[in-house]
């Protein structure tokens, strides 16, 4: 269960952030998730709602997700194309020498929080 694994890491990171910044309550968390990161968003939010109850500062935190589209770059014709539509093979020149430039990320973009005084 990949989503649960990631959720535990998000919660751990936020606990640390809360301590460093004297945060008393986190109202929302915005994650940026790549289109081909393999994370299923609905499932992810369910995991979050279940898991956040174990962390006092996160109890009311709403999970917001921004999807980052996947883009692949072709080394042969130096063009970019939509990964999900064409996969590994460049639609312009049929080359296999291509690599993903975005779409695999899973980062914590920002939080909304209340701090001491």
């Amino acid at each position: 269960m990949h989503e649960l694994g990631i959720v535990t890491h998000v919660a751990k990171t936020l606990d640390e952030v809360a301590e460093e910044n004297r945060i008393t309550k986190i109202g929302s968390v915005t994650l940026q998730i790549g289109e081909v990161s393999g994370i299923i968003n609905d499932y992810f939010v369910d995991c979050w709602d279940y898991f956040k109850k174990k962390h006092p500062v996160l109890q009311e935190a709403v999970m917001k997700i921004e999807i980052i589209p996947a883009v692949t770059y072709c080394e042969d014709c130096r063009s970019e194309y939509e990964t999900v539509k064409y996969g590994k093979i460049c639609p312009h020149c049929k080359s296999e020498r291509t690599y993903l430039i975005q779409g695999n990320e899973c980062t914590i973009k920002e939080i909304e929080a209340e701090t001491e005084e």
Partner: protein, 220 residues
């Protein structure tokens, strides 16, 4: 409420934990290997052959199966120290769980500790376990196209074991093509085609491990 921008990778806290664990293992002189593959590609069998092929090396194994203790019992029956680590249904091991397993088992006097990660070619590649060496197994029955489908695991591994080569006559597995695809993703990857069943290729593998254990100690 105010907005605080973080732009942190979700693996940030794990990455730091992994670096701490790596430093502790370095200090203890124990090389920790993270062994990854799909289910059934031959991790436990390779460990058995490795234990037999390296009689003077003290090997300990952390078995991270989701719920059974079968593999840990097998390893123990071959004379190596073994522990079953509980992953609570998770699809990968992280540095915290690895540390708990190592501490639970005890690693004093051990030369080589191996974590048999959960069978899966995706998630384990994303989480640093704190290992000094990442090794993946691809069995020839899985096909030579796997580097194209699961690039991250090939990118993060120091060595690729291509297992079950005794079965090559029965499968359409293009060894050269597979190695070329893996090297395109990771030019430095060491490749070991072998059969744990017949022993073919095992010598090069155990020589490599002996050398890596020496390197790990010398630089500690």
């Amino acid at each position: 409420m105010k907005v605080i921008e973080l732009h942190k990778s979700v693996t940030d806290s794990n990455d730091r934990d992994a670096d701490r664990l790596r430093a502790e293992m370095k200090k203890a002189g124990v090389l920790l290997i993270n062994l990854m593959s799909s289910p059934g590609s031959g991790k436990t069998t390779l460990l058995g052959a490795t234990i037999k092929g390296m009689p003077d090396t003290r090997i300990a194994v952390l078995e991270a199966d989701i719920d059974s203790a079968v593999d840990a019992e097998k390893i123990a029956s071959w004379g190596a120290r073994a522990i079953q680590v509980h992953t609570d249904g998770m699809c990968h091991m992280d540095a915290g769980m690895t540390r708990e397993g190592l501490e639970g088992m005890g690693y004093e006097g051990v030369d080589l500790a191996v974590l048999e990660n959960i069978g899966n070619l995706i998630c384990p590649a994303e989480f640093d376990t704190g290992a000094g060496l990442n090794v993946m197994i691809l069995s020839i029955t899985e096909g030579d196209d796997k580097p194209l489908k699961y690039p991250l695991m090939f990118e993060t591994s120091d060595a690729l074991v291509i297992s079950k080569i005794d079965a090559l006559p029965y499968f359409n597995f293009d060894m050269e093509k597979c190695i070329e695809r893996a090297r395109r993703l990771n030019p430095d990857i060491k490749v070991f085609p072998l059969s744990a069943k017949t022993g073919e290729g095992m010598q090069a593998w155990t020589d490599y491990l002996h050398q890596e254990i020496r390197n790990w100690r010398e630089n500690s």
